[in-house]
């Protein structure tokens, strides 16, 4: 079984971003970038499937500028076999990403596509669902468990009121939630080895898809900050304040 995993370069999860004063976007100067955490979980799952003998090849793809090759190298160091970088300077909306990935699915014919459920920058949570629609395949979103069984996969989904178990016919598209696995740290030898693994660079514009954004960003603003509160010294004082001052209990 061949697995395709798509990964995104995003601002590091521990960084609190700053909005530009002219409200046109986020200050990206010298901002630490990283592999989107959910994409990392997706890569880890694909590699585990390969290690357990369920998968034969793990291909990672990223869409973006040349800099996204850093995240592809990270994925290769974790154990992916080869990488594809679809280069573009456009701001990619989920629908465009899904259309490009659908083209790659057509070319590569993977039985399973694993994506992260959401990127922590644009917080959309759409691409896997869109890709499943465009390729006419079943979708397993927000999964915390995955097992392969011949021409089917069995998945557990994290839903609002608990867990849901489904079986999907392959080929299928799934999106990784937090508890699917805990990604490994790449060892130094595997980081070195990853430098020799191939990255196939292609232009995203060559796929004959209109990639121009359809959602116009009028402005990006900073949300209202909460006013700083007060420290209380005891539980008794806390309860009194909640009763008499805040009147919430």
């Amino acid at each position: 079984m061949k697995i395709l995993v798509a990964v995104k370069r995003v601002v590091d999860a521990n960084i609190k971003v700053r909005v530009l004063a002219d409200e046109t976007g986020i200050d990206m100067n010298d901002t630490k970038m990283a592999l989107n955490p959910f994409c990392e979980i997706a890569v880890e799952e694909a590699i585990r499937l390969k290690e357990s003998g369920s998968a034969s090849e793990v291909i990672v793809v990223s869409i973006g500028t040349e800099k996204s090759q850093e995240q592809l190298r990270t994925a290769l160091a974790l154990g992916a076999d080869r990488a594809i970088l679809l280069q573009t300077n456009e701001i990619m909306e989920p629908l465009s990403v899904a259309k490009l990935l659908a083209k790659l699915v057509q070319e590569e014919q993977p039985e399973l596509v694993i994506l992260g459920k959401q990127s922590i920058d644009s917080d959309n949570n759409q691409t896997a669902q869109m890709l499943a629609a465009l390729t006419g395949r079943p979708q397993g979103t927000f999964i915390s468990q995955l097992s392969v069984d011949d021409c089917e996969i069995h998945i557990t989904r994290e839903v609002d009121n608990g867990l849901q178990k489904l079986s999907l016919q392959l080929p299928a598209v799934v999106s990784a939630d937090l508890r699917l696995n805990e990604p490994r740290f790449a060892s130094l030898p595997s980081i070195m080895k990853a430098k020799r693994k191939p990255i196939d660079r292609r232009s995203a514009e060559d796929f004959g898809i209109d990639l121009s954004p359809r959602i116009k960003h009028l402005k990006i603003t900073t949300p209202e900050e909460r006013k700083s509160g007060q420290l209380v010294t005891s539980v008794t004082e806390l309860v009194a304040k909640l009763k008499l001052e805040a009147e919430v209990i």
Binding site: I120, E158, R226
Partner: protein, 309 residues
């Protein structure tokens, strides 16, 4: 304007998330229709028909929609879309699973988690874990959006009797099968609907220690939540997770216990009306958003709190 709101329900009960979604739709103005699909949904359909201001209720009742999976539900929705300028669903796991699939079939973009309606084409949505707000505009034949329910009040049930239209299109689901649900059976209120939420973080130390929170929650009639760190550590189930990639809550009172206040957690609770933080570390970032902070050992303060309530 004509707006379709997709109704979320648990067979017998209408999900309150839908009521907030309808409020968002009302802010656009125009005719609002509801779509309900499932099996044995007559009681939910009756409830929905009573909601103030609803024009039509589209009901697709058939065994094939019982599990409400996205694959065939989207096939049902696809031909309906051309009748609407907007299609909204709640930004729940169900809505988020469904709507992007429909958007791709229709070849339109989708907006996730809108928190404000400016006009029929302009909306505000949080990005970067709510550390920035994007005002976005789009011109599409049909605008699809999921609605963050904490940002809109619930619409009221009234004496309305909306016209019901039965849809008899049957789309079987050919390639995904429902196997089982493993739903949490808590006596406590649901996290996203609770007036008071008390959450525990890594500082709780273990899953067993969550009983300290449960005791306080029972006194307050509160829901119990957890930070991602606590879920990661295996102290709490994922459906208890409050944060950027978990549940978004905005109760009257939010009590954060042993939670440091990582960006991703703040994203899920910073719109709460009153925030209380109990943490041993006076430098924990959670104190920066708290209305009332108590620097103390939670293993002493939680039992005291339980006693005083």
């Amino acid at each position: 304007m004509s707006i379709l709101v997709i109704v979320e329900h648990q067979q017998q009960t209408l999900d309150p998330a839908t009521l907030s979604t309808i409020t968002a739709a009302q802010q656009i103005g125009g005719k609002i229709d509801l779509l309900i699909c499932g099996e044995n949904i007559s009681s939910v359909a009756n409830q929905a028909a009573k909601i103030e201001g609803i024009n039509q209720l589209l009901v697709a009742e058939h065994a094939c929609y019982k599990d409400q999976l996205a694959e065939n539900t989207c096939k049902l929705l696809f031909p309906l879309a051309e009748n609407y300028t907007h299609i909204f669903a709640a930004a729940t796991t169900w809505g988020k699973n469904l709507l992007p699939r429909l958007a791709a079939l229709l070849d339109v973009p989708q907006l996730s988690e809108i928190i404000q309606v400016i006009d029929a084409n302009t909306f505000v949505r949080p990005i970067y874990a709510g550390n920035a707000l994007a005002t976005v505009q789009l011109e599409e034949t049909t605008i699809l959006a999921t609605v963050r329910t904490t940002a809109f009040d619930a619409v009221q049930f009234g004496d309305n009797q909306a016209v019901t239209v039965d849809l008899d299109d049957v789309y079987e689901n050919d390639f995904s099968r429902f196997i089982a649900d493993d739903l949490s059976n808590s006596e406590r209120p649901e996290l996203t609907a609770a007036c008071i939420v008390i959450s525990g973080g890594r500082g709780m130390g273990s899953g067993d220690n969550f009983s300290l929170l449960n005791n306080v929650a029972d006194k307050l009639g509160a829901a119990v939540g957890a930070s991602r760190a606590a879920v990661d550590a295996g102290f709490a189930a994922n459906d208890m997770q409050v944060g950027q990639t978990g549940k978004i809550v905005a109760p009257e009172l939010y009590i954060a216990v042993g939670i440091s206040g990582a960006i991703q957690h703040l994203a899920g609770m910073k719109d709460s009306k009153v925030i209380v933080a109990i943490n041993q570390d006076p430098d924990a970032p959670i104190f920066q958003v708290a209305d009332y902070g108590l620097v103390s050992d939670l293993f002493e303060s939680l039992p005291q709190l339980e006693q005083l309530l």
